[in-house]
Amino acid sequence: MNIEIVAFAILATIGIASAILLVLQKNPVYSALLLILHFMALAGLYLLLNAQFIAVLQILVYAGAIMVLFVFVIMLLNLQNEQALVDNFNIRKIVSFILGVVLFLQFAVFFLVKAKNDIDIKKSPDSIDAGSIQNIGEALFTTYLIPFEIASFLLLVAIIGSIFLAKRKIE
């Protein structure tokens, strides 16, 4: 058995388990901590795919910056314990739950059976370089120069919009 498959199995199990536990928690702080665990598992999966840069970003941005935001929001809003998911089940939620499961199964069957040959599982030898910082930087400043610049405009609009909507007083 390949060591990669073992690592994948462990990381995937941690990822799925933490995601399910996250939703089922009553205390939002526990949910936030489980989310960190989930991000860590995802970062590990990225590493297995030879995407070192994305893995580092995942930890830095999500587990670092975004999580601090989450914790701050939880602290500031002074959230009470959430009602457990099971307590307020009604017919609507059951139906949407079933539909969600059906969609998930459809996708799973699709990927495992129909599209099996479309996904190239074998890694080419130069894919180790593809995820490196050097190659990503090169792509960003040549092929994807315009999208890269537009991303900065996207951030600018996000900043302006949030300040405009949240400013205390508008003259």
Binding site: F110, K114, A115, D118, I119, T142, T143, Y144, L145, I146, P147, I150, A151, F153, L154, L156, V157, A158, I160, G161, F164, L165, I170, E171
Partner: protein, 475 residues
Amino acid sequence: MEIKSLLNILPILIISLSILILILIEAFHKKSEIFIYWITILTLIFTTFLSLITIQDQSLNFHDTIESGGITNLFYSLLLIISSLAVISSKNYLNRMQYHHGEYYILVMSAILGMMLMASSRDLMLTFLALELMSLSFYVLAGYHRKVLFNNEASVKYFLLGAFASGFLLYGIALVYGAAQSTNIIYITREFDSLLNKPLFTLGLILLLIGFSFKVASVPFHMWVPDVYEGSPTVVTALMSTSGKIAAFSALIISLYGSTASQINYETVSKIIALLATASMLLGSIVALTQTSLKRMLAYSSIAHAGYMMIGVAAANKIGMAGIIFYLAVYGFMNIGAFILISMLETSMEKRLTLDDLSGIYKTYPWFSAVMALFMFALSGIPPFGGFFGKYYVFISAVKADMTWLAVIGVISSVIAAYFYLRVVIYMYFRREGENQNLYATAAENFIITVCVLFVIQLGITPGVFLNIITRFLP
């Protein structure tokens, strides 16, 4: 060579630069709204002329990510003209609501930048970012007046559902990339035939379609439309429902255009689009029958119109593509005219205008009701106006693609829709006069309405001229 590429995308550069300049003016200058308003309008008009002048030289720039000239510039000028009409009317409306701030124009300009990029993008990464740029600006604009609850509701609903749809779009792009090993639209459309044999690509395409149909407001992703169109400030609704739709359709047409080459493999996707079109047309027309709120009625009519345009996408032939662009132009002018007319009656953002507010209005404001009636006739597709030819070309394309049933459903739903459009006319002319009818008309509004009326009539009398221009630039 890079300098040449920069010159080719000059319209986009000018708009981006003007956004940065406007931000600086807004930051360092008190009471800068009027100043910003004029700069915005001048920039929009200048860019329109620029893109019309350079329409002949077609080229691909920056590693095939962005196209300039030809059909792209046609979309630019369409988007810019229609957006500038909405911008011109904004000043008086926002002044009346006592909420006139420079940020409005900055956000509108960023939305326009996003829309222009959607039309010119030839790379799915750029298309996604452009769509997000447009949507993000619209989310904020929908909730522009943060003290009005309606605006907050519209903004939150739009944001939550929009973020959900973006997820579908991004997943679709990821799957398409997985199947095609490239995000370049030109490459993907060229290889369309062989790629459609891969189930992964088909699934990606369908998810892409879901993402786009959310933005063009077609069934079953229409749930946000009535609430958002009704809740947002009317000038913002005018912009969203016209330019936003043009931009989303331009991206959809461009990413599906290669499909015209392969009718056989395209059939699955085509059937799905035809189904979406049927549902949108019928639901839009039938639900609009029961609406009394004017903006809500126009929102459902916008869903129905998205359905008519989807017919052209399903038919996927040249006349269909040209028909959609023609339809988009006419729809833009008549819808923006109708929304601006409604905005002229509004006294506050909390008030929702109903049909009763229009009753008997022709006695006090004969011109207003005449123009409103004209837009309603045009929207329902009555011959002398442009709306008729928009529908005509789209239905022709369905017949040519062996989908006559789709055209028949289109005609049936137009007949149903005529009821609620004409009801507006009946209220205006044959009902007893209502109370407190005030019309806030200034030179700016009169100018916009005149432009819209001229275009709607012009496109109805000589539709061939514009159609020839479109077909010349279609590849």
